[in-house]
Structure formats: structure tokens, C-alpha cells
């Protein structure tokens, strides 16, 4: 097979096959460069097309004669000055589309009269005068830049009829169009970005995981070739190592909160790990990675929340999306569904046994279990600061309170029920928080009568208009406001709409009470 078509790789200076390449490595051979799309009138690249835009009329006129004469006319007929690109060194393959359609199917191939090498010389003479002639009619901005020069090296050098682009300072190629400032800027911007990315990648290649002592990006499987960024410090680990460490069981006697959540190197506590394929060099880059990760998660629905049917242990600080679907549990009840069947206390009056440290610890244990086995297979490794009550959302708090003794009321008729908190029922809730403050709050006696349409009366004599106080999951507000009051006796409650109470307000109240 003769080498007719110019090797594209060679043209870009990167053909690995060398001598053995089946395509032509001859610069002087006129390239088979006709844009067939242009001839059909639909070239999307327009002036930026890297193939020659030759009008079909040229070839059609020659196609009217026999294919042999067509070959000749291309070479010699001055009326149709042959564009170098619509001729071929061997004369076989390089027939424009229109011609091929007309003649090639019905006629056998006819070899050119002249040997290829002689023809080549003839054609080459046309090359220079013709090429220069055509583009000058165009505006400079419409003229394409030389693609050879843009790729690195133009064999025609100064004699090249095309514009040689300006040198791009980043990639070092002559690919900036001198007359198209927008394109130029775009290229510069892209090039810089690409370069930066490459540099970061190169830098990341060198980074070793401090646990497995291997280069993170040289790990065998693609899933392992990821860094696990700790939120609070800058020590590099691969995602599998850091996750392994944070998930490692407590059987070895390691402390979950202090040892496992800490950076293995600096022991700084981090609450979540962000996977990333690149390692950062600056704080801003890290922030960018973390932000984009969070943004990505925010678009994914939380499977614990389950569109309002589930109970997410992370509450409002969950990274995933919490969408309440109409008709779901939360939609109907305005509070999350019970997480696990907790031991139910039927005695509404005697609340003391429930509120003791062990139970609180059980709650903590429950929460912790949920946290730890949470999201086993996805990217989130979000370790909330675990504390039984500190982290309870208003809903959860309400739920807990409801579990303390309002079971009957829950199951009683919808029309009317009475919440009884008898005088002796003093709630002493021990809240131990990370800060170490201990909060005692006790509920003195009061009886709450609930009527869905009317008012809520409190025995101490201040009937308060309060709707759905309990069923909204609002009981905690009643309690907390009660605590916030100076005399500690009167419950102040306003009309509460169905909107959620702000968690900040609750925690502020908690602090105030503490």
C-alpha cells in the first residue's frame, strides 16, 4: 500500500511507528485535507476547521469529464487552479466526495499517468502561489492559523501561507490567534488551568500516606487512589487508611472520641473526612475541595432521613439533603419517626426511674451506634460530637420527652387528652455536655389540659392559647420556656405555628438554663 495519507501523528511530531507507519511521513506530499462536511455545506467548525474548505463546484466541474481527465485537469487546467489539498500524490484516493459519488462507483481505478513522485513536484509548484492567494480575500480574523505551527513545528517555516499564531507562554505552542482576542484569552485561561491542574497532580503523585507508607496515587485500584482530607489538619492519608482507622473497633481499647477521631500524626480531632483525588497546597484549595464535596453531598438525598420517613442521627447538621416528601411521617406528624423501640414506660406519673444516668447513657450509646455504623459504603464519614442531649434536635427532644411518660396521651383520642405531670414528678435530667456543664432542670407540678381547638390550660392559672403543643413536637418549647421563666412556675407559651423552631434558640435557652 502506498503511503498516500499524511500521518496525523507525524504531523504533530509524535508518530511512534516511525519508518513502519502505514501513513505518509512526507511533508511534501499534499495532505488529504478536504473537509467533506464543508462540501456538503455543514461544517460546524467554520473557519476554525483544520481541514481545507474547498468549494464543491471545483470538483464537480472536473467530475463532468472522465475520471482520467479529471485527474489531469486538476493538475494542469489553469481554469481550475488545483488546490493542493484536492489533489493527491498518487491520484487514487484523493478524489473529492462529489467526484467519488459520480465516478468511482461505476469506473475502475485508473492509475495516474505520471508516477507519484513526478506529479508531486508539479503540484508542489502550485502549492505556494495558490495558498497565498485564497486566504488574503478573507478578513484576518477569519483566517485559520497554521495547525502545524500550533502543534509545535511548521515545516514550511516562514514560507507558510497560513498565519502562525502567537506563542502561548504556558504551553509553549504557537496556538494563539493574533486576530481573535476572545479565543486567545480563552486559550490562555484554559491553558493556565490545565497547567495548574497538572502541577497539582504532579505534586499529589509524590504524597505518601502516613499509615500504609505508600504513594496514594500509586495504589493498585482506582478506588484506593484517593486522599482522605481531614477537616482540621493537613496531614495526608489515603482514604481507605484513614477510614479504616476511624472505623477500627474499640476492642483494642482505643478511645473513640479522642484517639480514633484524631489525626494519627498530630492528634487533632477532625469530625469528617473528605475524599479527594488531588492533594492541595494552599488553604484555599483545600476549602475548595471541601466545599465542592459538601455541595455534591447536599444534592444527594439522605438515606437516613428517607424523605421524612426516617430518622437522621445528624439532624440539621447532616451533609445530605433532607427533603420532606408530602405524605411522609414528618409531613403528617411534624416530628421524625421513632428511631428504635425504646423501652416504653406506661407509668405517666412516676418519671424518676427513667431519668437517670444509665438511661441517658443508653441514649448516648444508641446515638453513637448510629453514628458509627452510619454511611458504611458512601463517602460521608461524619463524626458528630456525640452527646446525648446536646445534639438532640427539637424533634428528638420532644420525642424523648414523649417517651418519658406521655404514652397514654399519645394513644388517647384525638379530641382531648390530658397531660399529667403530677407534683411529685420532678424531672432531673443530667445533661453532661462536651463543655462539661451539668444542667439540672426540674419540672415542678403542673397539669396541662390539651384541647385541639381551644386553649391549653395550666393549673397555675394562666391559660395560654397553645395549639398542637404536644403533637407538633413542641413540648420541649413549653418546658424550656418554663425554665427560662423567672419564677420557675408559669409556663409561657405562645401560639405556635407549624414552622420549626430554630435549633439555635433551643440551645440558647439550654445555655441560659444552665
Amino acid at each position: 500500500m502506498s503511503k498516500r495519507v499524511l500521518c496525523k501523528f507525524f504531523a504533530h511530531g509524535a508518530c511512534l511507528k516511525g519508518e513502519n507507519c502505514e501513513f505518509s511521513h512526507d511533508w511534501k506530499a499534499p495532505p488529504n485535507n478536504i473537509c467533506t462536511f464543508y462540501q456538503k455545506g455543514i461544517c460546524a467548525y467554520g473557519s476554525r476547521c483544520r481541514y481545507q474548505h474547498v468549494k464543491p463546484s471545483q470538483s464537480q466541474s472536473s467530475a463532468s469529464s472522465s475520471s482520467t481527465s479529471a485527474q489531469q485537469s486538476l493538475v494542469s487546467d489553469p481554469a481550475y487552479p488545483p488546490h493542493p489539498s484536492c489533489t493527491s500524490s498518487s491520484g487514487v484516493a484523493l478524489v473529492p466526495v462529489a467526484l467519488t459519488e459520480l465516478s468511482a462507483s461505476s469506473r475502475p481505478f485508473i492509475l495516474p499517468k505520471q508516477p507519484a513522485w513526478k506529479q508531486e513536484c508539479d503540484q508542489h509548484e502550485f502549492l505556494d502561489d495558490d495558498d497565498v492567494g485564497e486566504p488574503t480575500s478573507l478578513k484576518p480574523a477569519d483566517r485559520p492559523i497554521c495547525s502545524f505551527a500550533a502543534a509545535g513545528d511548521c515545516p514550511r517555516g516562514d514560507k507558510c501561507p497560513h498565519i502562525h499564531g502567537d506563542l502561548c507562554p504556558t504551553c509553549g505552542k504557537r496556538c494563539l490567534h493574533p486576530f481573535r482576542p476572545e479565543e486567545k484569552e480563552e486559550h490562555l485561561r484554559m491553558c493556565e488551568k490545565k497547567q495548574k491542574h497538572l502541577e497539582v497532580l504532579k505534586h499529589s503523585q509524590e504524597i505518601e500516606c502516613s499509615v500504609c507508607l505508600e504513594r496514594v496515587l500509586s495504589k493498585p485500584t482506582p478506588a484506593e487512589r484517593k486522599f482522605g482530607l481531614l477537616s482540621e489538619c493537613d496531614h495526608p492519608f489515603c482514604i481507605s487508611c484513614i477510614r479504616n482507622w476511624r472505623n477500627s473497633s474499640t476492642t483494642s481499647g482505643l478511645d473513640v472520641n479522642n484517639a480514633l477521631r484524631a489525626c494519627p500524626i498530630c492528634r487533632k480531632l477532625s469530625y469528617f473526612v473528605v475524599p479527594s483525588v488531588l492533594w492541595y497546597t494552599t488553604k484555599e484549595e483545600k476549602q475548595e475541595i471541601v466545599d465542592s464535596y459538601k455541595a455534591k453531598l447536599k444534592s444527594i438525598d439522605c438515606k437516613h432521613f428517607d424523605f421524612g420517613n426516617g430518622n437522621c442521627p445528624f439532624g440539621t447538621s447532616c451533609f445530605y439533603k433532607h427533603t420532606v416528601r408530602p405524605g411522609s411521617y414528618i409531613w403528617k406528624n411534624h416530628r421524625p419517626p421513632p428511631r428504635k423501640p425504646t423501652p416504653r414506660r406506661s407509668d405517666a406519673v412516676d418519671m424518676d426511674p427513667f431519668i437517670n444516668r444509665d438511661d441517658i447513657n443508653d441514649m448516648a450509646g444508641l446515638l453513637e451506634d448510629d453514628m458509627d455504623c452510619n454511611f458504611p459504603d458512601d463517602d460521608l464519614d461524619f463524626d458528630e460530637d456525640i452527646n446525648p442531649l446536646n445534639n438532640l434536635s427539637p424533634f428528638e427532644m420532644a420525642f424523648m420527652l414523649s417517651q418519658m411518660g406521655f404514652d397514654e396521651s399519645d394513644s388517647s383520642s384525638d379530641d382531648e387528652f390530658i397531660l399529667l405531670l403530677r407534683g411529685s414528678a420532678t424531672i432531673s435530667v443530667l445533661v453532661s455536655s462536651v463543655l462539661g456543664f451539668i444542667l439540672f432542670f426540674s419540672l415542678p407540678c403542673f397539669n396541662i389540659t390539651y384541647k385541639p381547638t381551644s386553649s391549653l390550660s395550666i393549673e397555675h392559672g394562666c391559660p395560654v392559647s397553645l395549639q398542637h403543643a404536644y403533637r407538633d413536637g413542641r413540648l420541649e418549647e413549653v418546658v424550656l420556656r418554663h425554665l427560662g421563666n423567672e419564677d420557675g412556675q408559669t409556663v409561657i407559651a405562645k401560639h405556635i405555628s407549624c414552622a420549626r423552631i430554630d435549633f439555635c434558640a433551643v440551645s440558647a435557652l439550654l445555655k441560659y438554663a444552665g
Binding site: 502516613s210 499509615v211 500504609c212 507508607l213 473497633s249 481499647g253 494519627p264 492528634r267
Partner: protein
């Protein structure tokens, strides 16, 4: 599952710096890397100076996410090391372990423990009491133990060779048989007599 690739790397890393740190780690047998022997020199300026202490290392399945189990096989007189079993009381080998620590750094910490005993958190109460109340006695006991147990393999060998030579064995043969049995005088004698 133990990350053996990491253990291999650690061993290589450690062998590169034997001159600098004096700390060696070698597998106990060729069969597995889960059981190793670490060697640390006694820190200079302490009663342990000049001694070479051997530590048995057993890697748990969870290594490096679980701490390696380390125990002195050389007898040591130290408040934080059991004089009976060689058990080491060191936080980083227990709840303060971190996967970023290596065998070498752990051994370095053990070495540091030798030079900075913490009698308030003792492993061996008797030694700790002595350390607090009769410090001079403690120092001399520790020195004696170092002399007896931690130096036997290096300096004692000459004396043993001398002894065997006095018994009538040729020196070269006595030396080689002593080396082959690991410095035990009686075993060497047996070997010489039988072969």
C-alpha cells in the same frame, strides 16, 4: 489482616538507619512477619547504658490500626517494665497508639521510656517504690541487671571462650560452637563434647 507491605517497608526503613538510631528490627523466623525481634541500645547516661535490650514484638491482625504487642525478653529493672514478664507500660502501646507510628518510632519511645521512668504510673510496684524511696539502690540494681542480662551476649562471650579453652578445647572451635548455640555456655560444652 496485617499490612505486610507496610511491615516490609518499615523493616527496610529501619535497617537504613541502624547506625543513627541503633535500633534494629528483624523477623523472628523467615516464615512470618507477624513475630519480630527488636533491639534497642540502653540510653547513654542511664543505668541501662551499654546494654542491648531485646524486645519481642507480636503484630496483631489489625496492625497498623492496632498497636503492636511489645515485651522485653531481656530482663530490665525499671518502674514501668515488669521485672518478671517484661511487660511494658507505655501509653502509645495501648490507648494512645496511632497508625502513623511505626515499629521504629515505637521502639524509640520505649528507649525514651528507659531514660525517663514514670514511677507514678508503674508496671512494677516494687521497682517503682525503690525508685522513689531508695533511688541509689534502684540505680545500682538497674546497673547490675543491665550488666548481667543485657551485656552477656557481647562481653561475656570472651570469658566463656576463655573458660572453654581452659577446659582443653581449641579456641576457634570453642568460639564457633558458642556462636552457633547463641552464647549458652552449657550448650556449647555439650556440643563440643558430642561433636
Amino acid at each position: 489482616m496485617i499490612d505486610f507491605a507496610r511491615v516490609q517497608k518499615e523493616l527496610q526503613e529501619c535497617s537504613k538507619d541502624v547506625e543513627g538510631s541503633g535500633i534494629r528490627v528483624a523477623p523472628k523466623s523467615d516464615a512470618t512477619l507477624a513475630r519480630l525481634v527488636g533491639t534497642i541500645p540502653g540510653p547513654i547516661g542511664t543505668p541501662y547504658e551499654g546494654g542491648t535490650f531485646q524486645i519481642d514484638i507480636t503484630l496483631p491482625d489489625g496492625y497498623p490500626f492496632e498497636p503492636p504487642k511489645m515485651q522485653f525478653s531481656t530482663k530490665v529493672w525499671h518502674p514501668n517494665i515488669s521485672s518478671q514478664s517484661g511487660a511494658i507500660c507505655l501509653d502509645i502501646l495501648k490507648d494512645q497508639w496511632s497508625p502513623a507510628l511505626t515499629l521504629k518510632t515505637a521502639l524509640l519511645s520505649v528507649q525514651a521510656l528507659l531514660s525517663a521512668p514514670q514511677p507514678d504510673d508503674p508496671q512494677d510496684a516494687v521497682v517503682a517504690q525503690q525508685y522513689i524511696k531508695q533511688h541509689q539502690t534502684f540505680v545500682s540494681t538497674a546497673q547490675y541487671w543491665t550488666e548481667t542480662f543485657a551485656k552477656a551476649s557481647s562481653r561475656g562471650i570472651e570469658e566463656k571462650v576463655q573458660k572453654l579453652v581452659e577446659m582443653g578445647f581449641p579456641e576457634a572451635q570453642a568460639r564457633s560452637s558458642l556462636e552457633s548455640v547463641g552464647g549458652d555456655e552449657n550448650l556449647a560444652l555439650e556440643k563440643l563434647c558430642s561433636g
